[in-house]
């Protein structure tokens, strides 16, 4: 189970970082969200995996480590606040600059491969 868990964390991390490296604000925000999932799972994992051990007194025989859970809770809330801010910032950036590129200017399309370009909007 631990291997599966770790694999998932790794996969989410990869996806998150990959999206963060893209050039559009909204995509980056999605990347950050994926990344925060990975982070939260990772931080949670620092207390190890426990089945049937919710840290509620009297409800279990073996308790899972409650501290990382509290930390993840804090991290989730902070992550939410940050995501909210960055999303609105993305809107503001679009409003101010006229496009949603992270650098505020749309780079010219890369040479070659022009044929496969398709305007969607």
């Amino acid at each position: 189970m631990e291997a599966v868990y770790a694999f998932c964390v790794g996969a989410l991390t990869t996806c998150g970082f990959f999206l963060v490296l893209r050039g559009r604000t909204f995509t980056v925000v999605m990347g950050l969200t994926l990344l925060s999932y990975a982070v939260n799972l990772f931080l949670f994992a620092s207390g190890r995996l426990t089945l049937d051990g919710a840290a509620v007194l009297g409800q279990s025989t073996v308790y899972s480590d409650p501290l990382p859970q509290a930390l993840v809770l804090t991290a989730i809330v902070i992550g939410f606040a940050m995501t909210a801010f960055v999303v609105i910032l993305a809107m503001r950036s679009r409003a101010d600059q006229g496009n949603d590129h992270v650098d505020g200017t749309v780079p010219p399309p890369p040479p070659r491969a022009t044929g496969s370009y398709r305007r969607n909007s």
Binding site: M1, E2, V4, Y5, A6, F7, C8, G10, A11, L12, T13, T14, C15, F17, F18, L21, G23, R24, F26, T27, M30, L34, Y37, N40, L41, F42, F44, A45, T50, A54, A55, V56, L57, Q59, S64, D65, L67, L73, I76, V77, I78, F80, A81, T83, A84, L89, M91, R92, R94, A95, G98, N99, D100, H101, V102, D103, P110, S116, N120, S121
Partner: protein, 932 residues
């Protein structure tokens, strides 16, 4: 005895002109002179002790850990320099009174000048290396201010900057050198340093220290190849040139060499560097001086040449050479200062410094001309004048050296050649200016200057004569004590007399005179010859070099900081990768000894769903809505994972945050492009994939290693004390509101600030509103579907009930203020979605900003409440109560804290979402400008 005052008086004097400027020019000049004169008087008072062979010292502790003390010494060398600095300084003050025009700010000028004087005084009486350096740099600064005094002139700015850059660079080298010396002897005290000459010279680091110190000295004293700044410093008002560029600042380098003579000189390295530099400078300066048409230019190169001469003398490693050097310091200061002043008078009275225009001034200003001619003859080394004496000593010393081995005979030859050129340019100065026909196109008709403007020149010229005729009486003692401080082990026998008999040096002098006259007589050929060479303008070269450095740095900066966030993130991730991956190479085994859980189908399904959805998010990231759906699947699975692994609180929180996030993203997506073009090249994609993939591997590996290693943590404490100490059975919640309540307080503050920030962002936003979706379909005509309205409003009370339920149980079972707050918010948002802003606005009048503030305040005040009971912030209180019929119930301050959390969350979420909603509603206009 209080040496501090010697430097403190002029320092205070810096302020005097600023205060007295308004009372008239003469008063100002007079008042300015008082404190330096006082200081000079102090020095003269102490002079007796010095002549008695007693050096004076004073030390006040300042910054001991840096080795910096306020530490002063007054010995022969300092005395000599103090007399020059303060004496000539006073003359310059007088001179400047008449030189400056009424347009010039006299107060500012004198302030700079006295600041400079202070720093020079500081240099020469320092007994601490760092203090010395401090004053050294102050001279650079004050000379920058003085050179740029006429800051509206381009050459003044450039000249000042050049001087500052060159001397500043030298200053930094000097600092390094001094610190090295200080390190070798383990003290920055000059006495200690001077007492440890052998230790320093034999130290491995000596060559480095020597070169660094010499760099400082050479730049300041305009030695080749750093001489180029000095001519450009002539953009300064002439009193400045007379003071700084003849008598004082340029001598600071010489002073430095003299000061460190006991510890740095005496080695072959010293000999090679110092004497050769001096020689080169001597010749170069003398040669170029001849060709300068600008009076001050001529004098500037002459100064360079004479400084080279002094340097050469110091470099010869001979005691007599050192004495000659010191003697020439005095002599050069007197004749050069007077020459600069004379040049200033000429400039002042005729409006030009160009020797091609200045002719026959003898007729117009015979008195000044006489003074200038005497000083120039001294410069040329004519007998009965002081310049002659030191030049004789110099010639004598050139005969006693062996710089170039068997070729050393060249040195006296070259010295003679240099002296010949010196004679030639002196002749030019005399003949070209005062004779040689009539003036050409002068802006003003020349006349004698005001009476008192001549006084300083008179005094200096008189000194030239006095020293030249009665050297032993006038400067003999001073030279001895000064030389003694340089040589420390005793002054060699030297004969300060006009007549030494017919000897080789006299012959060399004669040769130089004749040669100089010949050169000057045949100057036209020489000028013609010289005109074949493009005279490099140091200013242009220097500016060019600086410009090209700046250009190069700009290229580097624009290449590195190209404004691409993707690049910056790539750097961040690559760095992270290196930092995370390298330690893992030491990890021999991935899995630890902790028993692992068996894999089951449910988990595998979850993993499959999560990974596939994550990948789908990535693959379809350019179709944003689609990606968003996949993203919410990942979020859903993450919360299921939390539920699976015994973290119900996390599951609840993740779920509710997830939904709010999705709503928020949807709200924002409306104002953003729905789809993106393919922008990244395949190579970029594969590169990014590689980086992020490797990072994923690193994180995954660490995660696996961590999960399989046993952990001994502090958590048992929380489980043991949750009920007894925190009053709740839900340990996670008790940690949040009690054990680590401070984190939570910070966390809700973050949320509140985010809401404020978002409100701030929204407030000035001018948004484009799409009138159709990404496929060009116009929007549906049903903004508020009836069924949705009906069901949403029916669900609202239910949702509120659930949030109360979740809130109240939080302390003992999964739940709590945060989740409850999110549920409430979602329920209200649902009303917004179903009914719209217009409908809601009159119905919900809550001020969300106050709600946030109130929430945080509530949470904080439970913390503050514990102060009343003399307990630290956030100490909690709880107790069980029994009421008849109702039964036992618990009250805890943590619940108030949690209520604060609840209000903050509701306030923050609603402030964000409700205002975001209002954005589009207030005004809809067409999306006309679309760049992408």
């Amino acid at each position: 005895m209080n040496l501090l005052w010697v430097v403190l008086l002029p320092l205070i004097g810096t302020l005097v002109p600023l205060l007295t400027e308004r009372f008239g020019r003469s008063f100002c000049a007079l008042s300015v002179a008082i404190l330096p004169a006082w200081s000079l008087a102090l020095v003269l008072m102490y002079a007796g002790d010095i002549f008695d062979g007693q050096d004076l010292r004073q030390s006040i502790e300042w910054i001991p850990s840096m080795g910096l003390d306020l530490s002063f010494r007054l010995d022969g060398l300092s005395l000599l320099f103090l007399l020059l600095i303060l004496g000539i300084g006073l003359l310059v003050i007088l001179y400047a009174r008449y030189y400056l025009s009424s347009n010039d700010s006299m107060g500012r000028f004198y302030a700079y000048l006295i600041l400079f004087m202070t720093s020079m005084v500081g240099i020469v009486i320092s007994n601490n290396l760092i203090q010395l350096w401090m004053f050294w740099e102050l001279t650079s600064i004050s000379s920058f201010l003085l050179i740029s005094f006429w800051s509206h002139k381009s050459e003044a700015r450039k000249g000042a900057r050049m001087a500052l850059t060159v001397t500043g660079a030298g200053g930094l080298a000097l600092l390094a050198g001094l610190l090295l010396i200080g390190n070798i002897v383990d003290s920055y005290d000059l006495d200690t340093v001077l007492a440890n000459g052998d230790l320093i010279r034999s130290h491995a680091i000596y060559p480095v220290a020597l070169i660094l110190v010499l760099l400082g000295a050479f730049t300041k004293s305009a030695q080749f190849p750093f001489h180029f700044w000095l001519p450009h410093a002539m953009a300064a008002p002439t009193p400045v040139s007379a003071y700084l560029h003849s008598a004082t600042m340029v001598k600071a380098g010489i002073f430095l060499m003299a000061r460190f003579y006991p510890v740095l000189a005496g080695t072959d390295l010293w000999f090679m560097i110092v004497s050769l530099t001096g020689l080169t400078t001597l010749l170069l300066g003398a040669y170029i001086a001849l060709f300068k048409h600008d009076l001050k230019g001529l004098l500037a190169y002459s100064t360079i040449s004479h400084l080279g001469l002094i340097t050469l003398l110091l470099g010869l490693n001979s005691d007599l050479g050192a004495v000659a050097a010191i003697f020439h310091i005095i002599n050069h200061a007197t004749f050069k200062a007077s020459l600069f002043m004379a040049a200033g008078i000429i400039d002042h009275e005729s409006g030009s410094r160009d020797m091609r225009k200045l002719n026959g001034l003898w007729k117009y200003m015979p008195y000044t001309a006489t003074l200038a001619i005497v000083a120039a003859l001294s410069m040329a080394g004519v007998p009965l004048l002081n310049g002659f004496l030191s030049k004789e000593m110099f010639f004598a010393e050139t005969l006693n050296q062996s710089i170039l081995g068997s070729l050393s005979w060249i040195v006296p030859l070259l010295a003679t050649v240099g002296a010949a050129f010196s004679v030639a340019y002196s002749l030019r100065f005399i003949h070209d200016v005062f004779f040689n026909g009539e003036p050409i196109d002068l802006p003003k008709t020349p006349k004698e200057p005001p009476r008192y403007m001549k006084v300083p020149v008179e005094i200096l010229v008189a000194l030239c004569l006095l020293v030249g005729i009665f050297p032993a009486y006038v400067v003999g003692d001073l030279l001895s004590v000064a030389s003694f401080s340089v040589l420390t082990h005793g002054v060699p026998i030297h004969n300060l007399a006009i007549w030494h008999g017919f000897n080789v040096p006299l012959f060399m002098s004669l040769l130089a005179m004749v040669g100089g006259a010949t050169i000057y007589y045949n100057r036209r050929h020489l000028f013609q010859f010289q005109s074949h060479f493009d005279e490099p303008d140091a200013k242009h070269i220097f500016e060019g070099v600086i410009q090209s450095i700046v250009k190069a740095t700009q290229r580097i900066t624009t290449t590195l900081e190209n404004g691409s966030l993707q690049r910056y993130i790539s750097f961040l991730l690559l760095f992270t990768l290196v930092m995370g991956a390298l330690p893992l190479l030491d990890l021999t085994q991935n899995s630890g000894s902790r028993p692992q859980l068996p894999v089951d189908g449910m988990t595998l399904t979850g993993a499959l769903l999560m990974i596939l959805s994550a990948i789908a998010t990535v693959i379809w990231h350019r179709k944003r809505f689609l990606a968003l759906i996949f993203l919410s699947v990942v979020g859903l699975i993450v919360s299921l994972v939390f539920a699976r692994f015994s973290a119900p609180d996390l599951a609840l929180t993740q779920l509710s945050v997830e939904i709010v996030t999705v709503i928020l993203l949807l709200l924002a997506l409306y104002f953003l492009p729905q789809n993106t073009l393919k922008e990244s090249s395949p190579s970029r994609l594969s590169r990014d994939l590689l980086v992020s993939g490797l990072l994923g591997c690193v994180i995954g590996t660490i995660c696996y290693a961590m999960l399989t290693t046993p952990l001994d943590s502090i958590s048992d404490f929380f489980i043991a004390n949750s009920k007894t100490g925190g009053g709740g059975t839900n340990v996670v919640n008790v940690i949040l509101v009690d054990f680590r309540g401070f984190d939570t307080l910070g966390e809700i503050t973050v949320l509140g600030i985010a809401a404020l920030g978002i409100f701030k962002l929204i407030a000035k936003m001018r948004i484009y509103i799409p009138i159709s979706d990404d496929k060009g379909r116009t929007w549906s005509n049903d903004p508020h579907p009836m069924m949705l309205e009906m069901v949403s409003q029916s669900l609202l009370p239910l949702a509120l009930l659930v949030s109360v339920y979740i809130f109240l149980r939080g302390h003992n079972v999964p739940g709590g203020g945060f989740i409850a707050g999110l549920i409430t918010s979602v329920a209200i948002i649902q009303q917004y979605i179903a009914h719209g802003v217009k409908w809601i606005k009159p119905r919900i009048t809550t001020n969300y900003q106050w709600m946030i503030a109130g929430g945080i305040l509530m949470a904080t005040s439970t913390g503050l409440g514990s102060w009343l009971f003399d307990k630290p912030f956030l100490s909690t209180w709880f107790d069980h109560f029994h009421l008849p019929w109702i039964g036992e119930f618990e009250l805890a301050s943590a619940m108030v804290f949690d209520l604060g959390v609840y209000f903050t969350v509701v306030g923050a979420v609603m402030l964000i979402l409700a205002n975001l909603g209002k954005l589009s509603t207030s005004e809809r206009f067409d999306e006309t400008k679309e760049n992408d």
